[in-house]
Symmetry: C2
Subunit: 610 residues, 2 copies
């Protein structure tokens, strides 16, 4: 497959993905909104708002009692409140984010531009011999542009994800009146909107940027792909805000609502008398949807950029084989197509008849996407990569065959499945670990905390081995390029991963709305079942995010080491060992700060409400 | 100072330390035991036993009411029960330990002996050129002997520590009737027995072993000090059992007693109606005294052995300068003398008038021992070490001056003080962190857990920087030998550290006994104050143990790398990185197992009692 082939396939897949997301949104929107309800005073000063009215089947026709209309009106009101809250949180976050990003963009430009004292003169390339590369100032400019593009794409996808989630939660509740299957489908389709929009727009923007930058850079691929790395940095800078800010808000609202409800007033979860419940629901949308989206987008963009940079200084970069250099993007493009087929299984092919089917369908999503993607990786690898090539390997070049890359990407992909299944085992109420913890609550909070922490710690064992195995294999086969591609393999099914992940908060919200709107026990039972499966899938999403982040950080580290020409890093060097010591402490420092923030915010929330 | 000087100073200091410990024991035993009380049926089938009678001052003389005698009899009975429980636990532990140690000793002998297929022929030395060293079989034999000696010394010191602690707890309670100062002194003196016995006997046995082994090894110092490393391994094998086994028992009994008392029956801590309380007190003695003792002994023995081994293949080892090679032992000997003077401040020089004086006196113990020891290190360093020498540094030799070593040992010592003070700040109820956590309990267990965990995580920041600074400095100045000596610097005041540490469980027990024997509110208030200070000191002991263990593990790792002739360890090697990944997970695996054990044991205990 030549460069022209790659040119066509990547944007095509991205556009198909975006169209598919929009179609899913359209399907969700078919659960209709009609008319306005009359001044329904709920005591919090909120009057008026949209009312949903579902497409009624024949047997439903006679059931439009006034009671039912009030319940619907309530659903609409709650949804509106959640949507307003989420929007207001995100806009506040974006305000701070934009200040930070502007400042950071200036720093990037000044630091990179000053390398050759802002000279506009071309300089000899570092790796491509006998060729001139663009000036450091040009690299600074394009890196800053890429940085802002990455940030914008992340914000855009996260915001749309939140929009569709808050659009879908009440619709899921209303569909739950019909049965478990329609409710599940609405929730899952809404998740898919988020998943496909993010994966596709991330790919499309990156592809367009590379092509536009290429107009300026021409044959200077070193500079081109060095500038493109800004895209990854932009994505993860947003993720820092989305994940930490959103995460603190989510958990503080969750704990706060629980404290107000259970502790202070002894009222059940999601009770309408507890005003903190809306905050909890808002938190699910801004933290677990917008935040998780920007997190996975950050990892995805970074691993792609790390792979692209290493590729640009490897043999196919120096030989200007575009389709081989764009291999990471081709993998992602194939991932979108594979996830599209996978989603059909959840929304159309597999039937949900009873509650246990939900988690089985979700689990099969992971398996189906992984199996199909393995075939997809094989197709892309053997079509795009030359049979033999060399990969830049710190001080020397490493001879690599194309099937080595197939193994690298596949092991990342399958490690993701192992992480997903392990997370499911440790967080689903269908298996013994969670049941043991629940059982330990009989004797109070102390044993619960001990067993819960022990369980959490234990759940790291298998994923760590999976990570170690994929790092070892991919590193050995194709050096740092292999690690970056393993990360991308894990993230290649990101559209499905995010669909499953976003499904969680949507059904959580749906449950909250059902409770607050005073729906029947039967509806509540259905939304609870959706919610229980959703808690597990949210945990799976976190597992993917962390696993891929670990691979990505190694890939980025490798790209940095490559660029700066460091040959080896000796643990027996005092600086390295002292650095390891401080580095191993940093997660605790960071966790302490975030946990303290969650605790303080939750306490303030309790004071505010009571 | 020649070799003869070192020969005299080391055993002298060790013997002085042992005599000092025995003298402290004698002072404690002056709180007299006299007569037997008459069949006091407490409903648990225990009849008869020793009764304590304190030396009565004139004004006490008329107070020997029957009530008071019953209280004393109760104290004696409780002490006896704790002592029996602790002995029974330790003997059970020793049973399993001896099986493990026998097996491990055989493995060591077979593995080391088989290096040259059990040949008794001498072999060329690895580092000393043109000289023959003893056979691998001889090394295997002496390593096994050293291993067993290390294990035995650890068990012996731990057992005696437990004995004196269970001997002192009721005596502390009885002295608390007189006032806060006498009670504090008894508790501290008992702690000192443990501290000095362990530090001195550890040093003495090591010194004697080296001299006895030397009779066989003669000029083969490489083999001599390679065999001696078995001593460290023996010490830490026991520590594994003492710390993990004892730790699980302690915490399970603690949680179990709390659950039975507070949760199940709503009775206060240390209530005599709660049978799990005795188990809790037993746990303090076997876990926090015997276990902590073997833990610190393990670190102490290992750092000494690592330093000795690296010294033996460095210039003063090859030049057969014994006093320079025995520099680590000289530092420890100086440490015993310094700690002896330091203890005088607590037991005689500083006056305790009110409750806040307790923690201030304990804190000053750390400061005084550190300041005095800094001078002591200077004396030993400039007397024992040549001005210039070379230290083995993986693939080359490193030129080192004697004042470099002074800095290495001192930075370890002062890092220990920083860790101690940081731990005090984060665990004492006198400062804001603990008060904030207590405050967060107002809103229930959730915020308490969040704030508590955040606090624990935060407390790692300063110690990690202190550790990183001492590793960097000592590594840079004197390579792996510097790191081992920094560890030994941190442990040089181990006698004081252990005294403070053992003081904790003794006063904790004293408080329990006061409560169970139904002593007056005033006595209980005093023992509570002792106990509160003791909780902090127990935490400080753990800080020292972990800090020194981190340094020691690096030193041991360095000694291993030296012995096996590895020149560098590259993080960019896939095997190393995959290993880091798995290694970083291991603490979680291990924690999960121990926490699960604690939880399960606590639950079983609750079932047993209720």
């Amino acid at each position: 497959m030549g460069g022209a082939g790659a040119e066509a396939v990547i944007p095509l897949a991205a556009v198909v993905g975006i169209l598919y997301a929009l179609w899913q949104w359209f399907v969700v929107s078919r659960v209709k909104v009609s008319g306005y309800y009359q001044s329904l005073d709920t005591g919090n000063g909120y009057h008026g708002g949209p009312v949903f009215e579902m497409d009624r089947t024949e047997e439903d026709a006679g059931k439009g009692t006034p009671d039912e209309r009030i319940i619907m009106a309530k659903c609409a009101e709650i949804q509106h409140a959640i949507s307003v809250g989420a929007k207001s949180f995100l806009f506040t976050q974006y305000k701070y984010l934009s200040i930070f990003m502007t400042f950071f963009a200036i720093v990037i430009f000044l630091f990179l531009g000053s390398v050759n004292s802002f000279s506009t003169k071309e300089q000899p390339c570092t790796y491509t011999q006998n060729q001139n590369c663009k000036s450091a100032l040009a690299n600074a400019f394009f890196t800053t542009i890429a940085f802002l593009l990455g940030a914008f794409t992340s914000v855009f996808s996260g915001y749309l994800g939140m929009k569709v989630a808050t659009y879908a939660n009440a619709r899921t509740t209303l569909e739950a009146q019909k049965g478990i299957a329609p409710a599940f489908k609405i929730a899952y389709r809404s998740g898919a909107v988020m998943g496909f929009l993010l994966a596709s727009s991330g790919l499309l923007v990156l592809y367009i940027s590379i092509n536009l930058f290429k107009v300026y850079y021409g044959d200077d691929w070193e500079g081109l792909f060095e500038s493109i790395t800004g895209y990854g940095l932009g994505g993860s800078s947003v993720a820092l805000f989305g994940r930490v800010g959103g995460g603190i808000y989510t958990k503080a609202a969750d704990v706060g609502a629980d404290l107000v409800g259970k502790v202070e007033n002894n009222i059940p979860e999601d009770d309408p008398r507890n005003p903190a419940v809306i905050a909890d629901n808002v938190g699910d949308n801004v933290g677990d949807i917008a935040g998780m989206g920007s997190d996975l987008f950050g990892s995805y963009a970074e691993s792609t950029c790390a792979a692209l940079y290493v590729a640009s200084i490897s043999s196919f970069g120096i030989n200007h084989n575009l389709s081989a250099v764009l291999y990471p993007l081709l993998i992602s493009a194939m991932g979108i197509i594979v996830c599209l087929f996978t989603t059909l299984f959840a929304t159309d092919l597999l039937k949900i008849k009873a509650i246990p089917d939900i988690s089985s369908v979700l689990k099969r999503q992971l398996l189906i996407s992984t199996v199909l993607m393995t075939a997809g990786i094989a197709v892309v690898t053997f079509a795009a990569l030359p049979k033999n090539f060399t990969i830049f390997n710190f001080t020397n070049d490493k001879r690599v065959k194309n099937w080595h890359l197939f193994l690298c990407v596949s092991i990342g992909l399958w490690a993701g499945l192992v992480i997903g299944y392990t997370t499911e085992f440790y967080t689903s109420n269908a298996y013994s670990p969670v049941r043991d913890v629940a059982d330990s609550c009989r004797t109070g909070a102390a044993t619960n905390v001990i067993f819960g922490l022990a369980l959490g710690y234990k759940s790291t064992i298998i994923p760590s081995f999976a990570m170690a195995a994929s790092i070892y294999t991919s590193f050995r086969l194709a050096s740092i390029y292999g690690v970056a591609m393993a990360a991308l393999g894990m993230l290649s099914t990101v559209a499905t991963g995010l669909s499953i992940d976003a499904y969680g908060p949507i059904s959580d919200n749906a449950g909250g709305i059902a409770e607050m709107a005073g729906m029947t026990h039967e509806v509540r039972r259905r939304t609870d079942a959706l919610d229980a499966a959703g808690n597990t899938t949210a945990a799976i999403g976190k597992g993917f995010a962390i696993g891929s982040a670990a691979l990505v950080s190694l890939a980025l580290f490798g790209a940095y080491v490559s660029r700066s020409g460091i040959g080896s890093i000796d643990v027996l060097d005092p600086r390295v060992f002292a650095g390891l010591m401080v580095g191993s402490m940093l997660p605790y420092w960071f966790s302490a700060m975030t946990m303290k923030s969650v605790g303080t915010a939750a306490l303030k929330m309790v004071e505010e409400v009571t």
